[in-house]
């Protein structure tokens, strides 16, 4: 197989790491090498959001991002959200509202909900729907997801 592998260095959930990466490898498979399985390939076309991660603070589809392109960048995955041992407000709200069933798409929704609330701390239902329109949930927990995002916004608002 024609492949040029090279050493890349990047920041993964706040820590500097390096890896030998073939030119065809995608970011989801790279993360698997670090035992991070929260970003998952599902549709393989960047249409379902299951593989959502942040690269330099921007949400991307890991399945469409070549691993070599994160050289020198900062990659953040769902596993970073509870590094303190505490769940984030979004994660806790997802549990409280029952906003998932099989859980396969959940990390993608949780990541996007965090991004939404960073940009818009008090989104209305239309804004939530618009922002999460790129994530699919075959269990169709959408009504509960919308409630969870609203609830997380309430929890995060300064008292």
């Amino acid at each position: 197989m024609d492949s040029t592998s090279r050493q890349i260095r990047f920041t993964l959930n706040g820590r500097p790491v390096s890896a030998r990466v073939e030119s065809h490898l995608d970011l989801v498979d790279l993360l698997r090498r670090f035992d991070l399985f929260g970003a998952r390939e599902s549709c393989g076309q960047g249409l379902c959001g299951c593989c959502t991660v942040l690269v330099d603070g921007v949400a991307v589809s890991g399945c469409l991002t070549l691993a070599q392109l994160v050289d020198g960048k900062s990659v953040t995955t769902v596993e970073s959200l509870d590094e303190s041992g505490e769940l984030s407000h979004v994660q806790q709200a997802f549990i409280d509202e029952g906003a998932f069933q099989c859980g396969f798409c959940t990390p993608g929704f949780v990541m996007m909900a965090h991004e939404l609330l960073k940009q818009n701390p008090d989104p209305n239902e239309t804004e939530i729907r618009d922002y999460l329109a790129g994530n699919l949930c075959r269990c169709a927990a959408y009504p509960e997801i919308i409630r969870a995002v609203r609830s997380a916004a309430d929890r995060m608002r300064p008292a």
Partner: protein, 757 residues
């Protein structure tokens, strides 16, 4: 939500968050997807490009020459491991890899094994095959009389008595011809005031679990371990052992969480292939499908339903049902769908004279199996559209007409089984009341018209099936429940832990659920057909009672007075002098059942329980575009008592929204047998913008008297009424009737144009 009063002891009836909730929101839940083992080979499947053909040659030489390719395997290689490599739950008709013939586009023909998944994918492009193309058949009705024959000889598995008459039958595409005859429909038609006859069709769709199918087989010393995303680990073990001619105890099947199943991951899917490959190359072998490949693996039956009813004095006196199920190239569980759902084809109505012919057909499409409802949504679509048309034609209110004919408690269903604990009328009444059905309705203005529709359906449980469970109480009094039920998102782990907790008088959160591992967890028929709450629920309750009884006996044997306050921890310590020992409770459950008589299809006890569900919708139709907007959706179901109301509510909501996709837009499109939209780019599933502005989910107050803590299944119930409720609402809004799903804006618009002339 109409939640009934909570259970007194407080563990069942409580909205406990899912036990695995934390792992799921942190991305740390276990899926087969995550499993990697040393020495593992990755695989990629080479698939047929023709719908029906004789294999002339397969050239794997270029693929084998690619650096990093370990081996390329064809059907002939599989025969060195399994001489008769045909599998399936109802028919042994599906080869592990194609042999002699291919029967649908996308059928697995060869497999590349490589050290790297990217190399396997590249190598598969280098394989070529030559076929002598045969005439294909794609339509289920054409398949009845078609000259094209998908399987020359029928090969029923032999485990089902009602398939025995099909053994060795030749040159037919009819895989099962189920019949039910009750009373005299012809006489009813002759004596009727009115006779109505319609034909309804449904399209082929796919489950698209977001975790695509994945299996990993690891060969051991005279043994095999399979990690698989399966809804039926016990069946996988039995079927793999049968293929290999091994005892069951040499095959170990493990299932962690599933990223959705919906019926797609039942029976055998990839397991036979990875098992054979692992034994062939003596290395671990993993096969992960892409989303596209899932469309070639299992689907939901397309169907044609011809329904004819006689009416006398406002009552349905006779009904003839002819249902044709497009089973695709391999039977999978299609013949079960044909029979087990077929006998409910007349709907939840009290009809004296009934005739049912439910026919499973082979065609040259990808196989069809079970998908959330097991054929019931296809049937309800037809009989509730038909019922609505009759009511409209007779000038009777559709709810009133249903009420006049509804199947009430104690009355016999078409099979002759008396209805028990089936709150059909309560479900109808609940929806009608929520919709203010008897009050005037705003019909919209200008080019946007409004309408409303209602539909109800019911389903029997697939019977008779067995579940076994173990409850193990440890030396410190903590406990685990061991079961082969698969939690694919429906919340079975939590529900089963609640049953253990309720029975033992402990907290649900302290019960550990041991996931399916056939070396450890006992037999369960499968996680399908909303059977787990009832069947496994009973087994778990019995196992917990057995453990509790043994604890009572232990206390007595230690000379403690009855009703003593000692907990298990103290009892163990008193007996063994230290923290040690186990109490193992075992429970096994199979309901009573009477097989339908072969000639009439009648049975006095065809199911241990009935699932009842219905949907009401208020919609808007844009007459200039045909676009349908769901303004409000009400789903109601009788599920007995809710073990976990919150999980139940999400099951109702999720089932209805999934069916909404099948109703409005999901459709596998074909070009000469090739699926042309097998990806999320072209095959749209419901997204967050597709959900109705208002959605309500009602648990109708009811009790399943023979159910564990009064409960029964619920995973499918809210799918039943969605499609016909929407079609009925479209009719109500703009006066046109759609008889073919999906109900796309284009089809609505064309119908409006056709009506205008």
């Amino acid at each position: 939500m109409n939640v009934m009063r909570p259970m007194p002891a407080g563990q069942v009836g409580r909205s406990v968050p899912r036990l695995e909730a934390r792992q799921k929101v942190t991305g740390r839940a276990d899926y087969v997807h995550n499993v990697v083992v040393p020495g593992m080979l990755y695989t990629k499947v080479f698939r047929s490009t023709v719908a029906h053909g004789r294999i002339l040659s397969i050239d794997t030489s270029a693929a084998e020459a690619l650096e990093g390719v370990y081996r390329v395997v064809t059907g002939e290689d599989i025969k060195t491991i399994v001489p008769e490599p045909y599998y399936g739950p109802a028919f042994h008709d599906q080869p592990v890899l194609a042999l002699e013939k291919v029967r649908h586009v996308g059928e697995p023909v060869a497999v590349v094994l490589a050290e790297d998944p990217y190399i396997a994918a590249e190598a598969v492009q280098l394989i070529t095959a030559e076929y002598e193309e045969l005439e294909p058949v794609f339509d289920e009705v054409e398949a009845v009389t078609s000259k094209a024959v998908v399987h020359e000889v029928l090969r029923p598995a032999g485990t089902f008595p009602d398939l025995k008459h099909l053994v060795g039958r030749r040159d037919t595409n009819v895989a099962l011809d189920y019949q039910l005859r009750r009373g005299d429909v012809d006489a009813a038609f002759a004596a009727a005031d009115h006779v109505f006859e319609h034909e309804f069709r449904t399209q082929q769709t796919m489950h698209t679990p977001l975790e695509p199918m994945v299996s990993l087989a690891i060969p051991g010393h005279e043994s095999l371990t399979i990690h698989t995303a399966s809804q039926s680990p016990s069946f996988v073990r039995i079927e793999i052992a049968r293929l290999l001619g091994w005892p069951e105890n040499r095959v170990r099947v493990l299932v962690p969480h599933l990223g959705g199943g919906f019926g797609a991951k039942l029976y055998i899917k990839l397991e036979a292939l990875v098992a054979c490959l692992a034994l062939l190359v003596r290395r671990p072998v993993k096969l992960s499908l892409t989303m596209e490949e899932q469309f070639y693996t299992i689907t939901k039956h397309a169907s044609t339903f011809r329904i004819k009813s006689s009416i006398k004095n406002g009552k349905i006196t006779g009904r003839r049902c002819e249902v044709f199920w497009n089973g695709g190239a391999y039977a999978d569980i299609g013949p079960r769908v044909t029979q087990k759902s077929g006998f409910t084809a007349p709907g939840p109505y009290d009809i004296e004279n009934v005739s049912i012919d439910s026919v499973a057909l082979y065609t040259n499409r990808p196989p069809a199996g079970a998908l959330r409802g097991f054929g019931i949504p296809q049937l309800v679509w037809a009989y509730e559209s038909h019922t609505d048309l009759i009511a409209r034609d007779l000038g009777i209110d559709p709810v009133e007409f249903r009420r006049n004919n509804i199947l009430r408690e104690g009355r016999e269903q078409a099979t002759g089984t008396a209805m028990k604990d089936a709150a059909i009328e309560a479900v109808l009444d609940d929806i009608a009341q929520k919709m203010d059905w008897s009050k005037p309705f705003d019909r919209g203005t200008g080019t946007v018209k409004r309408g409303r529709g209602i539909a109800i359906g019911f389903k029997a449980s697939i019977s008779p099936t067995t579940s076994v469970a173990i409850v193990n109480v440890y030396g410190d009094g903590s406990c685990s429940v061991y079961l082969s039920t698969v939690d694919m998102g429906q919340g079975s782990d939590t529900a089963m832990a609640q049953i253990v907790a309720e029975t033992l008088g402990i907290e649900t959160e302290n019960v550990k659920v041991i996931h399916p591992d056939t070396d450890v967890t006992p037999y369960d028929m499968a996680t399908l057909g909303s059977r787990s709450t009832f069947h496994m629920g009973h087994a778990v309750k019995l196992a917990a009672q057995h453990a509790r009884d043994q604890l009572t006996e232990l206390a007595a044997s230690l000379g403690l007075p009855a009703g003593t306050n000692y907990g298990p921890k103290e009892l163990f310590k008193k007996k063994y002098g230290m923290q040690a020992g186990n109490i193992v409770g075992v429970g096994s459950y199979i309901p009573e059942y009477t097989s339908p008589a072969p000639e009439t299809g009648l049975s006095a006890n065809v199911t241990p329980f009935w699932m009842v569900g219905g949907t009401g919708v208020e919609i808007e139709v844009d007459t200039e575009t045909g676009h349908v907007k769901i303004l409000r959706m009400i789903n109601a179901a009788d599920l007995g008592r809710a073990l976990n109301p919150k999980v139940v509510e999400t099951q109702l909501s999720g089932a209805a929204l999934m069916q909404l996709g099948f109703t409005l837009f999901e459709n596998m499109e074909y070009d000469n047998g090739q699926v042309t939209n097998a990806s999320f780019a072209d095959y749209k599933i419901p997204g967050i913008h597709d959900i109705p502005a208002r959605i309500e989910n009602d648990i109708v107050e009811a009790e399943q008297t023979n159910g564990p803590y009064g409960a029964k299944g619920v995973g499918e119930s809210a799918t039943f009424g969605v499609s016909p409720a929407i079609a009925n609402a479209i009719h109500d809004a703009v006066g046109v009737r759609l008889t073919e799903m999906p109900l796309t804006p284009e089809s609505v618009f064309r119908a409006i144009r056709a009506k205008k002339g």
